[in-house]
Subunit: 487 residues, 2 copies
């Protein structure tokens, strides 16, 4: 394409350079190509493709694949959208499925928000923030207050807000795990701040490695970077790790020592298959109880979302973050910043309420809720294990046992011949592999380079959301053929 | 409060300075205070306050006040939230209110998006973007294409995206009308770009004044600013103006001559009480037909929203922008940028579909839709006129006749004594007036300085969304007392 500099105000060479620098592979070239394949298939153009279905294993989008929404949640939301239904006795009839607790919750929420079509307070409806605070109290066993809770349009919007406040220019550094979810590096590019990468320890199930964190921190500081915060994703994306309490403690201790904000991305807190989820908030409060002087000023922002877990309502863009230990003047600036975009989607806010306050034992909707919730959990666990077992059998593939989140992040070892072939196509070896995989099988994964990976290692991230095992078989078959081709 | 510099990572002196600089008065100090009053009243603490109700005339939030949602829209949304209802014959029974076209539309939308709980494409569901394109074609009489439509979380998010792309640093200048909706100046502060203000002409019903635009443009260019875009809000916020076709043409002509992106904020396009709405897209295409050579490369971004008009669904955060004449490489970067936040809320996207494709004559839901739509329109017009008539009677108040949008922006002339009293409280005179108004009446308006105003003029912005005339009487009474006090 010829340059349009002379013709237009905007061209690729004069727009915001920080947007140009940003990378976001989860929805990058392969995702776009997979959409083209999907369009071709929907037009009946199967003949041109060696597969009859595209599997979007590139993105944690549960309801795009197989996960059904939780009935209680959606029933309440439907009444919030159509309040006249609340006045109709008929909706309680057997057939329509509305139970009394559904109606009560919808009425209560409508009292709180007025209409889901009205803007709420900038930080979200107060009553819902109070529900979130109570949820956090129950989860952690320590108090929480509504004024420190900010409802957001998914966790992404919360991360965007926090990084906007923290980053004051190129000299600001943020410690980001490698591999990471690329929201972090992309946002830091857009904000023209400095990403200070620290490597996770693949040999220890992708746990945090305090020595690696310290080394990265010291190096950045010695280069003049003002390191202000550390990002932790737990359970891990893309790694699937679930941190031990000791790992969480070590990070908080380090943050206290170096006065770093801890940004705890905990959107997968209910996707834990092995061990137990340890919230940063809960661990911090325990440490503060034991040594108040040392830990009292630790600044923690912890994020959660309706997009993941058994809720899986990505499309509704609901979430929240909680602040602990932040300077009140800084919180005022956060309030102003979120005001500029008015408020998070109100129906998404209501979904946050439902997530933190699901039906309780003895309530009419409880049995169905429990059955649906457990069904999703078990299904995810089974799929994770099936995929893990398949990866274990593949030549040159190593994979940690699934612990949490929605992803596996296997290592792949490719031959020199494959690496050479990638080079010829101007691709990194993992991009080359993922690209071939998509073209051959219709399975879309994200190359490890989209998340960052240790030098001379190769990975890909796949969700385990897709149902069945047929698509896993497709990967196995492709992999064998790929290995044979480049032997 | 003592400085916390020594204790914490973040404090008011080291956070992002551009966030600190940003101002957003619509949800500023007065809005916060009005919320405190509302809380007091809800706790039964009337005794302390000289009013028994807070009127939020500070923000265009129709459903917070009196505007009822359109039934057809909400019925469809309720089925999208609770798809099992679609299989129940009962919902077609008289009492529940669902008509056949509601069910058909919900089924069609579900086919397109899969689940409203799933992420859509980054730029929004394709089928909905196609509906938007057809709507624009019908509105303007010129073709539109889905690939140039970007669904957004309200228009605010669209503005945020566009300014992120356009602004490359402090040298980038954007022409912004004064008075303006503070989203523009706030976003430019956050992006550390330069606002190039141009004054609207109050004497011509707040129309655009080409000479004023040219003068501002030349001054900025002579100071080394790279002016890249011009923002137009039509119908006007806060002014209530509705531009003539000549005004629109003059802006496009100027933009073509100086190679400026035109950012047309057209969220109030159906709130027009006098004359007719002239879309920038339609006028541009006409100009291109008459003189293709001169206008072929004009870059136009026009924004629309579900928040305003007779839809009034702010809380759902739905909207779109259409691009014309943009460089494809720039559009690729826009795609990447919006991908980082994944997608606009899907239920809000569905509301965009309903807004651009409401029931047609002959369809089962048409009569009720028409009745509701016209009822809202007439109600707003009546309220606007009643408020206008009241302002006309007030001493020292001048107000343009309502033309469009949801606001009146009267000029107030205050005595030297009042201005002196404001100074003593460290307030601008209009802030002082609006603050007194809130404390005395519970009516929350936004001082003109929150939008920018010509030197030595004073205004306030009020919505005319609140029902009844009692609150207008409260303003009249306060105003007289205020004038008397400072005579």
């Amino acid at each position: 394409m010829s340059s349009t500099t002379a013709l237009r105000s905007l061209n690729i060479n004069n727009i915001n350079p920080h947007i140009k620098e940003a990378k976001y592979a989860v929805r990058g070239e392969l995702a776009v190509r997979s959409q083209t394949y999907r369009d071709q298939l929907s037009k009946g153009e199967q003949a041109n493709l060696p597969f009859d279905k595209v599997i979007a294993a590139n993105i944690g989008n549960p309801q795009q694949l197989d996960q059904k929404p939780i009935s209680f949640f959606r029933q309440v939301l439907s009444l919030l959208e159509n309040p006249p239904l609340l006045e109709k006795e008929q909706i309680l009839e057997e057939g329509l499925g509305y139970k009394k607790d559904v109606i009560e919750r919808a009425k209560w929420l409508l009292q709180q928000v007025g209409s889901v079509g009205a803007y709420s307070d900038s930080t979200g409806a107060k009553a819902i923030r109070e529900s979130v605070a109570k949820f956090i109290e129950r989860r952690d066993g320590f108090p929480a207050v509504a004024n420190d809770i900010y409802l957001s349009a998914g966790a992404s919007s919360g991360v965007n807000t926090l990084l906007h406040i923290i980053c004051a220019g190129p000299q600001t550094g943020i410690l980001v795990p490698i591999p990471q979810y690329p929201l972090y590096t992309a946002s830091l590019s857009v904000l023209n701040a400095t990403c200070v990468p620290y490597l996770l320890d693949e040999s220890k199930n992708w746990g945090t490695d305090l020595e690696a964190i310290k080394t990265s921190y010291k190096k950045a500081v010695s280069e003049g970077t003002d390191v202000r915060a550390i990002v932790i994703i737990n359970p891990g994306n893309p790694t699937g790790a679930s941190l031990s309490e000791e790992d969480v403690k070590a990070v908080i201790d380090f943050a206290a020592q170096e006065k770093l904000v801890v940004m705890a991305d905990e959107v997968y807190q209910t996707n834990v298959f092995k061990g137990k989820f340890h919230s940063f908030k809960g661990v911090l409060r325990k440490m503060q109880k034991e040594d108040p002087e040392k830990y009292k000023n630790v600044e923690l922002a912890s994020l959660h979302s309706v997009s993941k877990g058994m809720v899986g309502e990505c499309g509704h863009r609901g979430g929240y973050f909680e602040l602990c230990g932040f300077d009140p003047e800084v919180q005022e600036q956060i309030y102003k910043f979120v005001s500029i975009s008015l408020c998070a989607p109100v129906i998404g806010q209501c979904l946050v309420e439902l997530m933190v306050n699901p039906p309780k034992e003895g309530e009419p909707s409880y049995e169905l809720y429990k059955q649906e919730y457990e069904g999703i959990f078990t299904g995810l666990q089974k799929r994770a294990m099936a995929l893990y077992e398949a990866f274990k059998e593949m030549e040159g593939v190593e994979c940690e046992e699934p612990q949490g989140s929605m992803y596996l992040f296997p290592t792949i070892t490719l031959s020199d011949k494959a690496i050479e072939a990638a080079k010829k196509e101007n691709k990194s070896p993992d991009e080359f592999y993922a690209s071939r995989l998509l073209d051959a099988t219709g399975v879309c994964v994200v190359p490890g380079s989209g998340f960052g990976q240790k030098e001379n290692t190769l990975h890909f991230r796949t969700t385990f959301l897709a149902p069945g095992t047929e698509w896993v078989g497709r990967i196995t078959k492709f992999h064998q053929e790929f290995m044979d081709e480049f032997r």
